[in-house]
């Protein structure tokens, strides 16, 4: 079965600290994975995507993600967060029939 799990509903970090948001997937074939961000009362914006190649992919706004086939994971990272990074982050997996399979989202809270 295809699924995406974001185990942390909420993550709180201090401004300037590093960040990791976790994403685990279940998929039998080569996964096509995404991270999207949703700022309050807005639509979703694509941060980055991975299909093949270098397992570390760079995205917008200094975000990066590391794909691990052995761990079935696609964790999002940032070296130093800013207050403007406060948002909800969604991990998604390309499924069949024009569908994306979504994680439940992680709300990122930045402490001043």
């Amino acid at each position: 079965a295809q699924s995406v799990t974001q185990p942390d509903a909420r993550v709180t970090v201090s401004e300037g600290a590093s960040l990791q948001l976790r994403c685990k997937y279940s998929y039998s074939a080569t996964p096509y994975l995404f991270w999207y961000v949703q700022y309050p009362r807005q639509g979703l914006q694509l941060l980055l995507k991975y299909y093949s190649g270098d397992p570390v992919v760079q995205g917008v706004n200094s975000f990066e993600a590391e794909f691990s086939k052995s761990n079935s994971s696609f964790h999002l990272q940032k070296a130093s967060v800013h207050w403007s990074d406060s948002a909800v982050y969604f991990c998604a997996l390309k499924g069949s029939n024009y569908q994306l399979i979504w994680g439940s989202g992680t709300k990122l809270i930045i402490k001043p």
Binding site: Y32, F34, Y98, G105
Partner: protein
């Protein structure tokens, strides 16, 4: 560059009343189009997708229907709203629909049903 516009920005409607939400994509011919619903604080639920004019596939209906009357337009509607229809409706587009396809989202329409 492609732009995606959704209308209206927000609606407050009565239970049992009709609804029509719209989505327009400019700058891309023959896009694949998608409707999503998001409960407050929740994840996304895909409702419909369309790969060509006049053709719409249902993923989860939720007593809603969708139509694609033009290449660049996608409409979500119902004749009778339920309280459970409240939430955030997102339209998305993608270039091809192939496996390496990527979906891009509009700004959304917020719906409150009372």
């Amino acid at each position: 560059a492609q732009t995606i516009h959704q209308w209206p920005v927000a609606e407050i409607k009565a239970v049992g009343s009709p609804l029509s939400l719209g989505c327009t994509i400019k700058g891309k011919s023959s896009p694949n189009l998608y409707w999503y619903w998001q409960a407050t604080g929740g994840t996304l639920q895909q409702l419909f997708y369309s790969i060509t004019v006049g053709q719409v596939e249902s993923v989860v209906q939720l007593n809603l229907s969708a139509s694609r009357p033009k290449d660049d337009q996608f409409i979500l509607s119902t004749e009778k709203l339920l309280l459970s229809h409240s939430g955030f409706y997102l339209c998305a587009w993608s270039p091809t629909g192939g496996y390496q396809d990527t979906q891009y989202f509009g700004p959304g329409t917020r719906l409150l049903v009372l």
